[in-house]
């Protein structure tokens, strides 16, 4: 019994999130119509705050990697991603409360589903058990399908949800089949067992074909989740069609959780322990996997950036931009070593700030004008200078220019890739960054052009709450471009302990 309590105490954040998800559902039942959004949103925020508190208590835990129930682990890596998810959820909840697009009746259970999706991200970040990974993925995905289609009666929202559910289901099916093949080979669904078993098989130098098939299928599933080419086609459609707060969630929290699972999967099973020295065949396989990921990275960033060039819809452009950024992050994954993985973590945190901010601005803008076209941004800089200036900060970070965090993040990814010998990939990424300058710049330019009809949106101003949210994100974006030491250390440290 004490043992149970001990283990349960390690998953208080998860329990807390579950509890508040249920509370949100109950509150929705009792609150009078028309006020759900505010009340339920408020309770959800409370829940996220409490969860963040519990997470913070686990921040510097000893022992640094605590197994829970034999299928999860509480370590700095998972804590980082959970904090990431909680923060993203909090912003999404706030955005939802401030958004008009999601304000009509029936938005009480929206928060419940959102918190459930967050719970899925939690499991995804902290499990080393393949079945739980699948369950976490499905919890996240199924909740996301519903969220994407939440604007009932909206054709675009419906289409987005339909495309999302079909590809999501296929991808998870493919991944699950890959998992079962791994199970067939090793007799376990525990990554800590699978890793050594695979190592043994490599040592005996047989069975690389089944391993290749299994990892290939798993990789395809992960690639779908993080929207890497050519598994990315659903992304722009879903991002464009879904309500903007949901898009924000998908682009930030969902993608982050996908990367977390991918890193853990690769780290546990396919990175030879270079200090101890793995079998030669495994080294070769790990490098081959890295090269494949590098090719996917180059393809992803190129396709994402090129398609973003011609976009006129701001949300769709940001969707392609997020694909391109997944490509940059994959560059760090391709190194298949600690340095690369910690640069991935670092970049994801940066990505979190700049994308939350950029999507937040899109939402503000869509709220005030009911429009998402880039050309209609005209004059935003004159009407709401604060919003426009924060947007410029996000755009500069997205391009990857100093003094923002985007530059530092890219810098680490580039150095990691070059050191691993992927000079060609760094060159491709450099060219891509240059291309991306054009479409980000177009947005910035549009904001500071004078509109022909000055009076059109002249009455609309950012609410102070919204401006404050954007300011927080902008400060984060710039802050990590200058004072990134502690974050970098944390990323490195959490990478160290990943098992």
């Amino acid at each position: 019994m004490n043992l149970l309590r001990e283990e349960l105490s390690w998953i208080t954040p998860e329990l807390c999130l579950t509890l508040f998800a249920c509370v949100a559902l109950l509150v929705d039942l009792f609150v009078q119509k028309g006020r759900e959004s505010v009340m339920v949103g408020f309770f959800s925020l409370m829940g996220l705050l409490a969860t963040a508190f519990f997470l913070y208590r686990q921040y510097g835990v000893t022992p640094p990697a605590q197994p829970v129930f034999g299928c999860m682990v509480v370590d700095p890596f998972s804590t980082l991603f959970k904090l990431f998810a909680v923060g993203a959820l909090a912003f999404v909840v706030l955005f939802t409360m401030l958004s008009r697009q999601t304000r009509p009746d029936g938005y009480g259970e929206f928060y419940f589903i959102l918190l459930c999706a967050g719970l899925g991200a939690f499991f995804l970040a902290s499990t080393y058990n393949l079945l739980l990974m699948y369950l976490g993925l499905e919890l996240l995905s199924i909740a996301s399908y519903i969220l994407a289609g939440y604007a009932k009666g909206n054709r675009r929202s419906g289409e987005a949800a339909m495309k999302y559910v079909i590809f999501g289901a296929v991808a998870s099916g493919v991944m699950l089949y890959g998992f079962t093949l791994l199970y067939g080979m090793t007799g376990s669904i525990d990554l800590t067992v699978i890793g050594p078993k695979l190592r043994d098989q490599f040592a005996l130098d047989h069975g690389t074909i089944p391993i290749s098939v299994a990892t290939g299928l798993c990789l395809a599933g992960f690639a779908y989740k993080i929207s890497a080419a050519p598994f990315h086609f659903w992304t722009p459609d879903v991002y464009e069609g879904a309500p903007t707060p949901v898009t924000t969630f998908l682009a930030v929290a969902s993608k982050g959780a996908g990367f977390a699972a991918l890193l853990r999967f690769l780290q546990a099973g396919f990175i030879p322990d270079r200090t101890l020295g793995g079998p030669e065949a495994m080294m070769g396989y790990s490098d081959k996997l890295g090269t494949l990921v590098a090719v996917l990275a180059a393809l992803t960033m190129t396709l994402g950036n090129l398609a973003a060039l011609g976009q006129t819809n701001l949300k769709r452009m940001l969707a392609y931009s997020s694909i391109a950024h997944a490509g940059y992050v994959l560059m760090g994954v391709a190194t298949m070593n600690r340095e690369g993985f910690s640069s991935v973590l670092f970049y994801l945190v940066v990505y979190y700030f700049m994308n939350l901010g950029a999507f937040g601005v899109v939402m503000y803008y869509a709220n005030t004008t009911g429009d998402e076209q880039i050309d209609d941004l005209k004059g935003l800089g004159w009407r709401s200078p604060l919003v426009a200036i924060t947007m410029v900060a996000f755009l500069v970070a997205l391009v990857g220019l100093p003094p923002t965090a985007g530059f530092i993040g890219k810098w680490f990814l580039f150095t990691a890739a070059v050191k691993k010998g992927f000079l060609w990939l760094a060159v491709v990424a450099g060219i891509n960054s240059a291309i991306s300058l054009f479409y980000y710049f177009r947005v910035a330019r549009a904001m500071w052009l004078r509109p022909e009809e000055e009076a059109k949106y002249a009455t609309v101003h950012a609410s102070p709450a919204f401006a404050a949210l954007l300011l927080v994100l902008a400060v984060g974006t710039v802050w990590f471009g200058v004072g990134f030491d502690s974050l970098l250390r944390y990323c490195d440290y959490s990478q160290n302990l990943l098992r």
Binding site: M162, K163, I166, F167, V170, A171, V174, I209, S212, V213, T215, G216, L217, L219, A220, A223, Y224, A229, P230, F231, F233, W234, P236, D237, G284, K288, L289, L292, L296, T302, L303, L306, A307, A308, L309, G310, Q311, E339, W382, R383, P385, L401, P402, P403, I408, W411, T415, K419, A434, I435, F438, R450, A458, L488
Partner: protein
């Protein structure tokens, strides 16, 4: 050394304050569409910020002069600003002989131009925005020259580029101006690419991002010659972009679209010299590699004569000065290429004074004539704008190199350096060729400079009858700069009378290479004087009577008169040779511009456009198509893992 970071921080604070005031104006305009900024307050803040930076630089300068030993003040924020796998990147400033003088020039000339701008920009809707950018520029430029490592310099490098872009397109409502800004932006990116590659190559080969580290590694012979050559050439590509050398010069003439004080500060006195500064800062690389230094010298000479010849026929008063600036920058590179760093830097300083003076004077003329820039529509301004006339005459004399003005001595020192310096590409004879080119350029310089003066100030008014007089804030900086244009001569008089600047710089650039005999020096000096006076005389003869007379004579050219009049012969010759040559070269340059540069840009652009179109076509909205891609991708991923070794 807590003072050192304050030097760039002061203008930065000024920029912030002006930016906030600008936001306030924007806010006020929501209610009153024509709300005015508090011009006095903004101008005072901005000017004082730069003036304070000047005072601080001066204080540090004297502290430096008083110090013994290595003569360098340093400041380190952190040794590990950006950790890399290799050498860490520090963040720090270095105030030595070279950067101290740069700081003084930037803040000194900068403060005067700020003061001038208060008058020039009076009543502009973007008054506060202008001073925000201008202060920001000064801050970035100071970071550039103070940087002790390449990445920190790069921050300043990009900062000045950004401000230059913003200020060129300052009146962005006009498409032409916005396009000029974009051109500058794009061309500069080419240079930046070179600089970045140089930075990484240097760090990779020498194990240091710091100038001292790189320089000492090169001096210590740690690098093979091909490595220093590559390094030098890459650095020079960066310098070419910033300092508008062939083939990246195209943006500078267009950059004149910006307000005139911007042209004076950024595109004449400070930013465009950053390339030369970079070459001098990393001079050991060029000392070691004869190929890199030869390329620098030859590009400089070619740019000098080419841009100078373009200046001969330009009609826009600012364009004349712009081509002249490109040409003089070519001179600087020529000097740096042959190892005459002291002479090159000397000319950099004097050029900063007199070219800023000329631009500001041109600005006062333009302002007086209600934004008329065509020289052929000016004339007779001598009486209406005596202050501008006198000061600009002094500036012109300095630029032309009339004896005893500062430009005379600094230009002569470069010419002497070309003959006495190291052989270009290791071939001694080439120096004579370059000398001839430089001398021809000097002749052109003198001619077009006084052509400008005569066209603008002498003869009868051709257009504007009633120019309005300039206020004191505009004339005062002109007078100060005019005095500086004369007085700067004392920094380096010939025959060892004063080698103040050369001696001051020795800790950085070392002893001057090669010496000419006294008699050779005298000969050169006389030659320079004669060349300058000759150009002056030709200009006077051609344009001294006013444009109307010159044109009348040209229209009614009786054969006898033509034959007798040497003036006409010169005009004819001028027409037959120079104009045609210029037309030809500008035609060729146009071709290069159209096919090579635009071709590259457009080619890349159309490639990207086509790529973008097909990337968008791939996402055709059909779930079935996506499914096919998904399946194919899965098969390829699995197959490549299975099949590839």
């Amino acid at each position: 050394m807590p003072f050192l970071p304050l030097i760039p921080l002061l203008p930065l604070a000024g920029a912030l304050a002006c930016g906030l005031l600008h936001l306030q104006v924007l806010r006020a305009r929501r209610h009153h569409a024509d709300a005015r900024p508090a011009e006095g307050l903004i101008g005072t803040i901005a000017t004082l910020a730069v003036a304070a930076a000047f005072a601080l630089s001066l204080e540090r300068f004297f502290a430096l002069a008083g110090s013994s030993g290595e003569r360098v003040l340093t400041w380190r924020a952190t040794d590990v600003w950006i950790p890399t796998g290799g050498p860490a990147i520090p963040f720090g400033f270095r105030f030595d002989a070279l950067s101290s003088v740069m700081c003084l020039v930037i803040t000194g000339v900068g403060a005067l131009i700020h003061l001038y701008s208060i008058g020039y920009m009076k009543g502009d809707r973007g008054f506060a925005r202008f001073f925000t950018y201008l202060n920001l520029f000064v801050a970035a430029m100071l970071v550039l020259v103070l940087a002790d490592s390449m990445p920190v310099l790069f921050i300043g490098w990009e900062g000045v580029g950004l401000c230059s872009y913003l200020l060129i397109g300052f009146w962005y409502e006009e498409m032409k101006n916005a396009e000029a800004g974009q051109k500058a932006f794009v061309v500069n990116r080419v240079g930046d690419f070179g600089f970045l590659l140089a930075m990484f190559a240097a760090a990779y080969w020498t194990g240091s991002f710091e100038f001292t580290g790189v320089n000492s590694a090169v001096e210590g012979g740690k690098l093979a010659t091909w490595q220093t050559t590559v390094l030098g050439l890459l650095l020079f590509v960066g310098a070419c972009g910033k300092s508008a050398q062939i083939p990246l010069y195209v943006w500078l003439p267009d950059a004149m679209a910006g307000p005139t004080p911007v042209s004076a500060l950024i595109h004449a006195a400070t930013m465009v010299t950053a390339g030369v500064y970079l070459v001098i800062r990393t001079h050991p690389i060029f000392d070691v590699s004869p190929i890199a230094s030869g390329v620098v010298a030859c590009t400089g000479a070619a740019t000098a004569i080419f841009a100078g010849s373009m200046g001969l026929v330009a009609r826009d008063i600012k364009k004349v000065l712009a081509y002249s600036t490109v040409s003089q920058l070519g001179f600087l590179f020529l000097g740096a290429g042959v190892g005459a760093y002291g002479a090159s830097f000397y000319h950099l300083v004097t050029h900063a004074f007199f070219k800023a003076l000329l631009f500001l004077g041109a600005g006062s003329v333009i302002l007086a004539l209600h934004h008329e820039q065509d020289l052929f529509k000016m004339g007779g301004l001598r009486r209406a704008l005596p202050g501008s006339y006198r000061t600009m005459w002094i500036g012109a004399a300095a630029l032309a190199g009339l004896p005893l003005f500062s430009g005379f001595f600094s230009k002569d020192e470069i010419l002497a350096g070309v003959l006495g310096g190291r052989p270009v590409f290791g071939i001694p004879g080439l120096n004579w060729v370059l000398y001839a080119v430089a001398a021809a350029t000097a002749l052109m310089t003198s001619f077009y400079t006084f052509r400008l003066i005569y066209l603008a100030f002498e003869g009868e008014p051709r257009g504007h009858e009633h120019p309005h007089p300039n206020p004191t804030v505009i004339t005062l900086p002109l007078v100060v700069l005019a005095v500086a244009s004369v007085a700067a001569a004392v920094l380096g008089l010939p025959f060892g009378i004063s080698h103040a600047l050369q001696h001051w710089l020795e800790p950085v650039i070392g002893e001057p290479q090669g010496h000419l005999s006294h008699s050779a020096e005298i000969l050169l000096l006389v030659g320079s004087g004669v060349i300058a006076l000759l150009g002056f005389a030709i200009a006077r003869a051609t344009y001294g009577g006013g444009l109307a007379k010159a044109e009348a004579r040209a229209a009614a050219r009786p054969a006898l008169y033509n034959a007798l009049s040497a003036r006409w012969w010169i005009d004819e010759l001028y027409d037959a040779t120079v104009v045609r040559a210029v037309r030809l070269t500008s035609f060729i340059a146009g071709l290069i511009d159209a096919f090579v540069i635009d071709g590259l840009v457009n080619g890349a652009a159309s490639l990207a456009k086509r790529g973008a179109a097909s990337a968008r076509r791939m996402a055709d909205g059909s779930t079935q198509t996506y499914a096919l891609w998904f399946g194919a991708g899965m098969v390829v991923v699995v197959a490549s893992l299975v099949l590839l070794r």
